[in-house]
Symmetry: C2
Subunit: 238 residues, 2 copies
C-alpha cells in the first residue's frame, strides 16, 4: 500500500528511532547545562539550557507528525506498531524532562545574587549524577532495544527517591539554621523535586522500552512514590 | 475503506471526544478532592484523589489506543485528523494535570500533624479557584469547539502566575517568622507550584482547542513563564 515516493517502511522506522535518540541527546545536554549553570552561577550556560527547551518542543512535534503519518500509511501491527507508539511516548517524556530541566535553568538564572551556601549543593550534586546516569542508560537501552538494561533503570529509580529525601531534610535544616538561607534553599527544594521527577520520566521511558521490545507491561506500582514527611526537629535550631 | 463491523467515522470521532470530556471530568473532580483534602485535613478525601490518578492513566491509554486505531483505519485529513491528534494531546495534558494534583493529594496526607497555620492557606485558596475555573472553561471550550473561550483561557493564565508570586512570598515570610512553619510551608510551596503548572497544562489544552477547530497555532511565547525571584527582606524578621 505504500507509495514508491516514500521510503521503505523499515527505513522509516529506523529514521524515527534515530530522531528520538537525537532528541534524547538534546535532553541530556540540556540537563548538563542547567546543572552546571546552577552550580557555577553561570547565567549564560543556564540560558543555553532554557533555549534547548524550545528545540525539544520542535523535535517532539516533528516526531509526533512522522509517527502518526507512518501509522496511517503503513498500518503496522505488533512490534512495528509498538515502535511507532514508543516513539510518541518517549518523545513526550523527553519534553517533560525538558520542562523540569527548564525550571532548574530558570532558577539558576534567578538565584544569582541570593545568599549562597555551597554546602546546600552537595546532595543535589549526587542527585544530578544519578539522574544523568539513569537518563544515559535508558537512552542506550532504547537505542539498543536492551530490555535488561531498561529494567535495571526502572529498579534503580528508588535510589534517586532516597537521595531526594535526604536532600530535602538538609535544605530544611539550612533554612531553620538561618532565615537568610530560606529563599535560596526554597529554589533548591524545587530543583531537587525536579531531579526526582526527571527520574520518574526516565523510568517511564524504561517501561516504554520494555514494552516496545517485549510487548510486556511493567507492574503499575513502582518501588516508590510517596512524599517524604520532611519532619525535622524544628526546635533543635531555636 | 472502513469495515462494516466498525462504527461510522463520525460516530467514532464523537465517541472519542466524549471520552476525552469524561476524562476531563475525572481530572476536575480529582483536583477538587485534593484541594478540599488539603484545606480540611481530610485524609480520606485526599486518598480518593490519589486513586483518581490511576483512573486518569487508564482512560488515557484507552483514548490513545482508539485515536491511533482510528487514524490507521480511516486515514483522516484536515479537521478530522486534527480532532484525533487533539484527543491524544488533551489526554496527555489531563494526565499531567493528574500528576500535579496527585502530588498535592500526597502532601495533604503527609502534612497531617505538622504545625498548621490556616493563614498560609489564604493565597492557595485563591489559586485553587482560578485553576478550577480555567480548567472548567477549557473543558467547556473543548466540548463546544469554542475558539473564543479557549483563547480567553490562554490569556487569563497570567492571573494564576501573578497569584503564585504573591503566595510564594507569603509562604517564605511565614517561614522566616517562625522556623516551626518551615516544613509545613515547604509542602505548600510545592502545592502552589503544582497549581501554577496545572494552569500551564490548561493553557496547553486551550492551544490545542484553538488548533483543532481553526488549524491555527497560538504564538509559541505565552504572556508568562519566569521564576519569581522570591526575594524577601530576610532581615525584617530577625
Amino acid at each position: 500500500m505504500s507509495d514508491h515516493t516514500f521510503k521503505p517502511f523499515d527505513q522509516e522506522l529506523e529514521a524515527l528511532g534515530r530522531r528520538v535518540a537525537e532528541m534524547g541527546g538534546v535532553a541530556e545536554k540540556m540537563l548538563a547545562d542547567a546543572m552546571d549553570g546552577l552550580f557555577t552561577f553561570d547565567v549564560d550556560m543556564a540560558r543555553r539550557a532554557v533555549a534547548s527547551g524550545l528545540l525539544l518542543d520542535t523535535l517532539r512535534r516533528g516526531i509526533e507528525g512522522s509517527a502518526i503519518v507512518t501509522i496511517a500509511r503503513e498500518q503496522p501491527v505488533s512490534v512495528d506498531l509498538r515502535e511507532c507508539i514508543a516513539a510518541l511516548r518517549v518523545a513526550s517524556d523527553l519534553v517533560r524532562i525538558g520542562d523540569r530541566t527548564r525550571d532548574i535553568a530558570d532558577r539558576a538564572v534567578t538565584i544569582i545574587g541570593e545568599a549562597q551556601s555551597s554546602r546546600a549543593f552537595i546532595g543535589l550534586k549526587s542527585m544530578r549524577e544519578v539522574a544523568e546516569k539513569q537518563l544515559k542508560d535508558v537512552l542506550d537501552a532504547y537505542a539498543q532495544r536492551d530490555v535488561v538494561r531498561a529494567r535495571a533503570v526502572w529498579f534503580d529509580d528508588a535510589d534517586l527517591d532516597a537521595l531526594e529525601d535526604s536532600v530535602l531534610r538538609d535544605l530544611l535544616t539550612f533554612m531553620m539554621e538561618d532565615p537568610r538561607n530560606i529563599t535560596f534553599c526554597a529554589h533548591l527544594l524545587f530543583c531537587s523535586k525536579n531531579l526526582e521527577r526527571i527520574g520518574d520520566h526516565t523510568t517511564n521511558i524504561a517501561e516504554t522500552v520494555v514494552w516496545m521490545v517485549s510487548g510486556e507491561r511493567m507492574p503499575i506500582e513502582r518501588p516508590k512514590t510517596r512524599i517524604a514527611s520532611l519532619s525535622i526537629d524544628a526546635d533543635r535550631e531555636r
